[in-house]
Amino acid sequence: MNSVAKPRRWEAFFWPAIAAAVLLAVWHYSVVLTGTKIFPSPTNVKTGVIELLHKNVLWADIGDSLHRVAVGFGAAVLVGIPVGLWLGWSAKANQVVNPTLQILRPISPIAWIPVAIIFFGVGDRAAIFLIFLASFFPIVLACVSGVSSVPPVLRSAGCNFGLSSTQLLRRVIFPAALPQILVGVRVALGIAWLVVVAAEMIAVDSGLGYLVIDSRNSGKRYDLVVAAMLMIGIIGLVLDFSVRRVERIKSVRWGFRDAS
């Protein structure tokens, strides 16, 4: 397929399908040729998925994971956007807070797990706290950079029409920074989904992360491990896809170069 030419309709499905089929074949024959008894083949995983679906635990685990992400990530959005707008708006506040933010930011959320358990004990709240931390920083930083890159011409235009500071923030700065904020939100959701799995392996006893580690620990059911991994991948994709839909809303679409 030529990268310049527009792909024909069937090609858009055909080549990705071939790539997936090749991967499955490599997997299948690797399992067959090495004669491994531990690692599952694609067919084993398929039966694993069906088994999980029939036992209903899968839905409960998916529900628990999504619930933790919804609460932790939702809180990060609600707190992170105002904090980020404020830091972007006030150079003084940013000067004071930024160094601390820069030190906390590179700490992997995983490193917070012991701290989270001290604070909240083993349970939902520890996991939610970790997801909150993981999504908070990307959102705040996206807001700060979004606000500081609002073109001065637009600020001036807003001032010219007699807006007060709060009106300027609400009617010019926020909508102008919104595309960049949404990018931060999307990155944060991706990280939240990575972190929930890690947190559930240690801090709680339900959810998809727990399903992975529990399937291994209770009877080395690697077919279920890989099945759970697949579910994690698919749900992550769906989450990312839904945030991308938001980016196509007309009042923010101008900020995304490749959106059509």
Partner: protein, 255 residues
């Protein structure tokens, strides 16, 4: 001067502007004195980088002068004000709002019905009918500038400041836009201060042309354009005034 010059609108006295750059004082404007009548169309020309835009930003209240004063209707200018709107060269419209949203931006204090009537009127004035729901990304450069002018006019300002508003447009669109602006000026009768580096643009549009020197900008010459509209751009008087301006700016008119 101008037939509409019933009263004095703006008085600029001994205006000076000194920037601090790397600890050094750089003078941008020096001893600018200017009177503008109500309804007058004044063009400001000068070599690029001379401080035309700085002057306009001071007059509009976005920058404070370091000496002298600007008074409008006897009132000192201390900051930006919806009674005088600055139109930028490009990217001045709000990309997250539709054409209607942009025109209505400064009208939030009006009742819904009044606002809608005002929006509809200015959509007509700048000929953007059929694009009311369009976003700026879907408009051409010329349409975006018309939208910016409409947004400015909608709040009913006394003065329009235009900072090279057609500078980023292609030459054909620019000629069309001049005609549109003259038509709007003749019906709406606002005072217009128009910065340009295009000599022809100045001679075609202005009642008076202010020629600035290179930095620091001083007023070198004020030229009254005594040709009635519509102006014939190959008439001897037009060419004479144009040559006069080119000479003032220090350009030979033989390439």
């Amino acid at each position: 001067m101008t037939e509409a010059g019933a009263g004095q609108k703006m008085r600029v006295e001994h205006l000076g502007m000194v920037f601090q750059r790397d600890g050094e004082a750089v003078s941008a404007l020096e001893d600018i004195n200017l009177d503008v009548s109500a309804g007058e169309f004044v063009c400001i020309v000068g070599p690029s980088g001379c401080g035309k835009s700085t002057l306009l930003n001071v007059l509009a209240g976005f920058l404070s002068s370091t000496s002298g004063s600007v008074t409008i209707d006897g009132e000192a200018v201390t900051g930006p004000d919806p009674r005088r709107i600055l139109v930028f060269q490009e990217r001045g419209v709000f990309p997250w709002l539709t054409v209607e949203g942009n025109i209505g931006f400064g009208l939030s204090k009006l009742s819904r019905a009044e606002r809608e009537a005002r929006i509809a009127h200015y959509v007509q004035t700048v000929r953007l009918q059929g694009f009311e729901e369009a976003y700026p990304a879907d408009l051409s450069g010329g349409m975006k500038q018309r939208l910016q002018v409409a947004r400015a006019l909608a709040v009913n300002p006394d003065i329009l400041y235009l900072d090279e508003p057609f500078g980023a447009l292609d030459s054909i669109t620019r000629v069309i836009m001049r005609g549109e602006l003259l038509r709007i000026w003749q019906t709406e009768r606002r005072t217009i201060l128009f910065v340009t580096h295009d000599i022809d643009e100045a001679v075609q549009l202005a009642d008076r042309v202010i020629v600035l020197s290179s930095r620091p900008a001083r007023i070198k010459e004020i030229l009254a354009i005594d040709i009635p509209h519509p102006r014939n751009i190959s008439s001897p008087r037009y060419l004479e005034l144009r040559d006069e301006l080119l000479t003032q700016i220090g350009l030979a008119y033989e390439v």
